[in-house]
């Protein structure tokens, strides 16, 4: 579903990714772990199309299409979702307005009918509830005045509403307490665990993986995947650290 081939990327002319190859088939959840500065977030941004992240070599295909040739909003319409490590505040625009415009813009691009205000609010309420979030919070401006944990939970509500085919979740677990971690983990399973969907889960810690149970775990170090395995690899990293794992 997502095929990354020998991907090299630079940020401000500095090479960050040095040949990442990775294949996430439909129906699977893959985790990427790695130390700070190993290129995890860069990988997420490159896949989502952030300006300033230049691909110098290699490529990425999504459902057989050249992902890197698409604009960020086209990638979203094609079914790609990026859960941000640091969700961005948009003052003056409510979550409801933001997500309704986003969803309808995606639907228009796919040739689907737009949701009416009523239909959308119903959907948004359901998804908020499923993530144990007060639906009233969706009336507040996007991420403004939200705690770190609330922002991350709101990212998952967004994922539930937009219902992507493939989610790249960049450290969605950071800033969450233990209860929130379970709720978010359940959310990922509920929304994304399906035969026709896929997830790339970027994390520092093994805790979230106990909830989500990835099919594969990869270690990214210095812009390259150095090891791959199953969840036992994550457990091993948790006890030994990355330095030893690389050895």
């Amino acid at each position: 579903m997502l095929e990354i081939t020998n991907l090299h990327a630079t940020v401000a002319d500095k090479p960050i990714l040095n040949g990442v190859s990775l294949n996430v088939p439909a129906g699977e959840v893959h985790a990427i772990m790695g130390p700070n500065g190993s290129g995890k977030s860069t990988l997420a941004y490159v896949l989502a199309g952030r300006p300033g992240y230049e691909v110098s070599e290699g490529g990425a295909a999504f459902d057989g299409h050249d992902l890197l040739a698409m604009e960020p909003h086209e990638r979203a319409a094609a079914g790609l979702f990026l859960g941000f490590q640091y969700p961005v505040e948009i003052p003056g625009i409510s979550y409801l307005q933001f997500l309704r415009e986003s969803l309808n813009s995606q639907r228009r691009a796919r040739g689907e009918a737009e949701l009416s205000a009523g239909e959308f609010i119903k959907l948004a309420r359901e998804q908020a509830q499923l993530l144990d979030m007060d639906a009233e919070m969706l009336k507040r401006p996007v991420n403004v005045g939200f705690s770190g944990g609330e922002k991350k939970r709101a990212e998952m509500v967004q994922m539930g509403i937009l219902a992507p085919k493939f989610a790249i979740l960049d450290e969605t677990d950071s800033g969450l307490d233990i209860d929130a971690l379970r709720i978010v983990g359940d959310g990922i399973n509920r929304i994304m665990r399906a035969p026709d969907k896929g997830v790339l889960l970027i994390t520092h810690y093994e805790r979230l993986l106990e909830h989500v149970r990835p099919d594969r775990v990869h270690v990214l170090q210095a812009g390259r995947i150095t090891r791959s395995g199953d969840i036992d690899l994550a457990r091993e990293l948790e006890s030994t650290g990355y330095a030893e794992a690389a050895a």
Partner: protein
């Protein structure tokens, strides 16, 4: 036939007719080019004005001849040749209409292009149960359709074109015209006083809450026609009225002068809410052909506890010079100014407000949001003045500027003059650039770049937009997006 061609033919015809006297020829559509006492006599005669009105105009004209254009604004104003403009153009004289169905289909199509909200179109079309919004349509300086007059009449509200009011309500007009903006107030107000073509008159009697929002749509139709609208709103004791004004203009090759005057007179405990969405043609990317918009808008909160609230969304015009102001004379009176001014390409805007605190316990709020894109220049200029006898005055001012790109300018010029030590004056100002983080976040959710910019800009302007009546707010949101098309990337 093409409108421009039609107009050109009319002009030719008038030019031919001019030699043997146009002054009393009511069939003519245009005043001849240029400004003279004859032009003013022509306009006045055209409108069947009484002698006192003509005298008032002539007095203004003579004063104007001795005045000079303003030069203190941060605007680069090309020299205007006042003798090379037309000061009056009217659509063909037609009998008064009972409903919009009788309106010229050409004009109705224009309404549609202007994007008049569907609800108002329904109202205009007379659909049963539609929200009640009275529209006094001003086309090329003359009101061609006025709806809901009967219902307003029942409430005692007088809502007329200013020309009609001069004929039908001479005492009221005489009493209030020029009482808030004196003829000699400034160069453009004085010019307007001499040549104003049409506009609106509203009188809300004591204790009456106007049963509907009053709205007027303006459009410049004829090429090279200066527009000199005159609006006079009088709210008697304890009354309330909300007035909406919106306008847009089609493509033009030559600069067009627009010098409107709006006067609001609020008696004791009266409240007036005045909302504007201004979308005059801004010119092409190089700034050619846009409207010059020199507007004087002022409210006198004459009575105690009166309140006037200005809300404006300014997206159009090549040059905007406009400072809707409040003179807070009555004790406890309140003035508000909420403004979004957006400039793109080569547009220039110098806009803001004046809050003059004369009475005790008067309060004012100023919220200004400037958005600059392209190679435009956007200046907020605001005066807060507290006079010596005004005790316990409060003012809060917030000025935020948002920049798109690096070739535009945002400027904030606050003037604060406080002559009474009991005043509390607050001023906050910020300037920021549109953030790449926000843009990418919105785009990653599925919005294309223009939609993302429009969304962020709308969020920035939110505090002001929420002051607008609902249907106007929706229109204004769209307008902000449309006005920024192509400004990023």
């Amino acid at each position: 036939m093409n409108e421009a061609v039609k107009n050109a033919e009319l002009r030719d015809k008038i030019a031919q007719d001019y030699e043997w006297g146009f002054v009393s020829d009511v069939e003519q559509e245009f005043a001849p080019k240029g400004l003279s006492e004859d032009t003013i006599r022509f306009i006045s005669a055209k409108k069947n004005e009484p002698e006192w009105m003509l005298d008032w105009r002539l007095k203004a004209y003579r004063a104007w001849l001795e005045m000079e254009e303003v030069s203190w604004a941060k605007l680069d104003i090309p020299e205007i040749d006042y003798q090379n403009a037309y000061y009056y153009a009217a659509p063909k004289a037609k009998p008064k209409l009972a409903s919009l169905d009788e309106l010229d289909p050409e004009i109705r199509r224009t309404y549609e292009k202007l994007g008049i909200p569907i609800e108002e179109q329904k109202v205009l079309a007379g659909v049963e149960g539609a929200a009640k919004v009275a529209v006094d349509a001003v086309f090329d300086s003359v009101s061609v359709a006025t709806t809901f007059r009967e219902e307003l009449k029942k409430a005692g509200v007088i809502f007329l074109s200013i020309s009609e009011a001069i004929r039908e309500q001479p005492e009221l007009v005489k009493k209030y015209l020029g009482s808030v903006v004196p003829q000699r107030d400034n160069y453009f107000a004085c010019l307007n006083s001499a040549v104003f073509s049409d506009g609106t008159f509203v009188y809300v009697p004591e204790g009456v809450r106007c049963p509907m929002e009053l709205s007027t749509y303006f459009r410049i139709n004829a090429e090279n026609t200066g527009q000199f609208e005159r609006t006079l709103i009088v709210a008697d004791k304890g009354s309330y009225v909300s007035y909406l004004e919106g306008c847009t203009a089609p493509m033009r090759d030559e600069n067009q002068l627009h010098a409107a005057v709006v006067e609001i007179f609020a008696h004791e405990a009266a409240e007036v809410k005045y909302s504007t969405v201004q979308n005059w043609y801004p010119g092409d990317k190089e700034g050619r052909g846009g409207i010059f918009n020199f507007v004087t808008k002022r409210a006198l909160c004459s009575g105690d506890r009166s309140k006037v609230s200005w809300t404006q969304v300014e997206t159009g015009s090549a040059i905007t010079w406009k400072y809707p102001s409040c003179i807070l004379k009555g004790d406890g009176s309140v003035g508000e100014f909420y403004s979004v001014a957006l400039t793109n390409n080569r547009q220039q805007a110098d806009t803001g407000t004046k809050m003059i605190h004369i009475g005790a316990n008067t309060r004012s709020t100023i919220v200004s949001k400037g958005i600059s894109a392209g190679k435009s220049n956007n200046t907020y200029r605001g005066l807060v003045r507290v006079l010596p006898r005004a005790e316990n005055v409060r003012n809060f001012t917030q000025c935020d500027s948002l920049l798109l790109g690096s070739d535009c300018g945002a400027h904030t010029v606050p003037y604060i003059e406080v002559k009474n030590p009991t005043a509390t004056i607050e001023h906050e100002a910020t300037t920021s650039k549109i953030s790449e983080d926000q843009l990418f976040y919105a785009m990653s959710r599925g919005l294309d770049q223009e939609a993302a910019v429009a969304l962020i800009v709308n969020g920035f302007a939110r505090e002001v937009l929420k002051q607008l009546p609902m249907e106007f707010a929706v229109e204004a949101q769209k307008l902000l997006g449309i006005s920024l098309e192509g400004s990023v990337g």
